[in-house]
């Protein structure tokens, strides 16, 4: 079952430049599908249109064109029901710094229609779950960045939404907070919540997302599981260092060439660079093969393609370059 389906979703912003008004097509006609219960990642450089898409899908801004169905409800005509079904944690967060964490949460829960009592129980749960207890009764103005982010997450989750949007959830967080948040996201998914997150961090998309879409200049340039995307682009590379005896290397070359999963062999400087599919599995087979043939392997290295390689292949730029150009 799909929890999000968009059809030709489009957003054009009109800005007033110097005199003339300009139209910026932030999101160009995207068709997106997010399956229930998955962690869906939206990867792309800043300015790609990820946040704009997310804001359209959370009813914050109206699309210029196209439609979408969220949790079974029409985005434009049933926006109230959409709002009830989703949680949204924006990039900058929405903590009311003039109030305490508890006060923030109590108000939020009740705005979603929960009774005072229900909200209190849920707040207690969330305080423990997200480790907010030690500071929840302090004014939010005094919170650190990580604490505020955790409160943001709690605010988004308070009504147990089926779908949770996280816009750049770990930007600006230290590695521990980031790892914790990743764990939180996985727990949510395990409990049945669908999580839709945007990020410009490769590692986050790679490690966290069950499926992802890569966005650039308002368009989706690639879609699929991280594994599948990387496999499409390049194989894995296994680098073997063998004994320097010529005969051994020649025999190895022939033997390896016969294997179906080895796409290419490049000998160089006493080493072999093998382009294979599924390097993790192939490596073991190769090592055993060479061992059985009495050929000893001195060094081995396995390198995997990254999502940056995927991005590069699809857009002609590396994600890191794209990030620097903003």
């Amino acid at each position: 079952m799909n929890i999000i389906e968009t059809h030709k979703l489009r957003k054009v912003f009109r800005t007033k430049g110097n005199g003339a008004s300009q139209a910026v097509e932030a999101v160009r006609s995207i068709d997106l599908v997010v399956r229930t219960g998955e962690i869906f990642g939206f990867l792309g450089p800043n300015g790609a249109g990820k946040t704009t898409t997310l804001r359209m899908l959370s009813t914050l801004i109206p699309p210029t064109d196209g439609r979408a169905t969220i949790a079974g409800y029409d985005l434009l005509r049933q926006s109230r029901k959409v709002r009830q079904a989703i949680g949204y944690v924006s990039q900058v967060g929405g903590v009311d710094i003039s109030a305490t964490g508890c006060e923030n949460l109590l108000l939020q829960g009740q705005l979603y229609g929960m009774s005072r009592h229900e909200t209190e129980q849920r707040v207690a749960e969330l305080l423990t779950m997200l480790d907010l207890t030690s500071f929840a009764d302090r004014i939010a103005r005094t919170y650190s960045g990580g604490q505020r982010r955790r409160l943001d997450l709690a605010l988004g989750m308070i009504h147990r939404p089926r779908l949770l949007y996280l816009d750049e959830p770990t930007t600006g967080l230290d590695p521990q907070s980031r790892a914790r948040l990743w764990d939180e996201v996985r727990s949510l998914r395990d409990e049945g919540t669908t999580v839709f997150l945007t990020t410009h961090y490769l590692e986050e998309a790679d490690v966290l997302a069950d499926r992802l879409a890569i966005m650039d200049h308002g368009e989706i340039v690639a879609e699929g599981t991280p594994e599948a995307l990387k496999q499409q682009i390049a194989g894995d590379v296994i680098t073997l260092g063998l004994d320097t005896c010529n005969g051994a290397r020649h025999r190895a070359h022939v033997l390896l060439g016969q294997q179906s999963f080895v796409r290419e062999i490049h000998p160089a400087d006493g080493q072999f660079q093998l382009f294979v599919e599924r390097g993790e599995e192939s490596l073991l087979v190769i090592l055993r093969l060479l061992d059985d043939a009495g050929l000893s392997v001195r060094t081995v290295a396995l390198s995997r393609p990254t999502l940056d390689d995927v991005f590069l292949r699809k857009t002609g730029r590396s994600l890191r370059e794209a990030a620097e150009s903003i």
């Binding site: 924006s90 967060g93 979603y112 229609g113």
Partner: protein, 252 residues
């Protein structure tokens, strides 16, 4: 009914916030009293038309109450800027809560504070010799409440449009001062040239001030009263619709 509950929750939030920064409330309380103390003695010397042998306070205080509505609540829109910037308003926007309830909760806090200020002012003025017809005073407070809602909503609307202190302050200053001067609060318009007097007729605040003076005097059937109430109610409905629609569209 969830509308009332949401309004109440938002109201409580605004009250808590105000109480945590009592400086503003203190200033708000003292400013009108300061005006009273400074201006009232000056008006003794002017021959004010209308009500024969009443004290100048009876002429001045109703106008002063309207003036606080204009200046005090006129600037209440500043309160929404922080919420706009912090992403708080956006967070509320994403909830299924009724948009009007969200806004009403915030506006009501400003209006109730304003009414308390008015009460304080009337008290101090009474100590100085101000005498009001009780029934008229109660009706006046009703008028002030509706007026207050309208002015606050208008100010919030401008806050949602400008989103920043400087343009908001500039616009509010440009609007409030002429409205005040052309309403006859500080100086009677009989002193103004004919042209200004004609223009002032179109200023709803002129009629609101006239109605306020009539009510204080106990003249419940003065024609300005119906005019004032109608004008304010119509403006209230329009302003409310405007501010709610701005809230819908604010996160562009």
């Amino acid at each position: 009914m969830s509308f009332l509950r949401h309004t109440q929750l938002m109201f409580q939030r605004s009250v808590r916030r105000a109480l945590r920064e009592p400086a503003w409330i203190m200033i708000g309380m003292f400013q009108p009293i300061l005006y009273l103390l400074l201006f009232a003695p000056l008006l003794d010397n002017l021959a004010l038309p209308g009500y024969g042998d009443t004290t100048s306070l009876n002429i001045f205080v109703p106008g002063l109450l309207v003036m606080i509505a204009l200046f005090g609540l006129g600037f209440s829109g500043f309160g929404i800027l922080d919420d706009l910037r912090n992403g708080v308003l956006e967070r509320f926007h994403v909830t299924p809560a009724n948009r009007l309830a969200l806004l009403m909760g915030m506006i009501l806090n400003d209006v109730i504070l304003f009414l308390i200020q008015c009460g304080g002012l009337v008290l101090v003025a009474t100590l100085m010799g101000f005498r009001a017809n009780l029934a008229g005073l109660i009706v006046l407070f009703g008028l002030l409440a509706v007026l207050g809602l309208m002015v606050a909503a208008f100010s919030y609307a401008l806050g949602l449009i400008f989103r920043d202190e400087s343009p908001l302050a500039a616009t509010l200053n440009t609007l409030t001062l002429p409205l005040l001067l052309l309403s006859g609060v500080l100086l009677p318009l009989s002193l103004a040239p004919d042209l200004l007097q004609t223009i002032a007729e179109f200023n709803p605040f002129l009629h609101i001030v006239e109605a306020a003076r009539a009510l204080i005097h106990g003249d419940m059937t003065h024609n300005s009263i119906v005019l004032a109430f109608s004008a304010v109610l119509v403006m209230l409905v329009i302003t409310m619709q405007w501010v709610v629609s701005l809230f819908h569209r604010m996160t562009a």
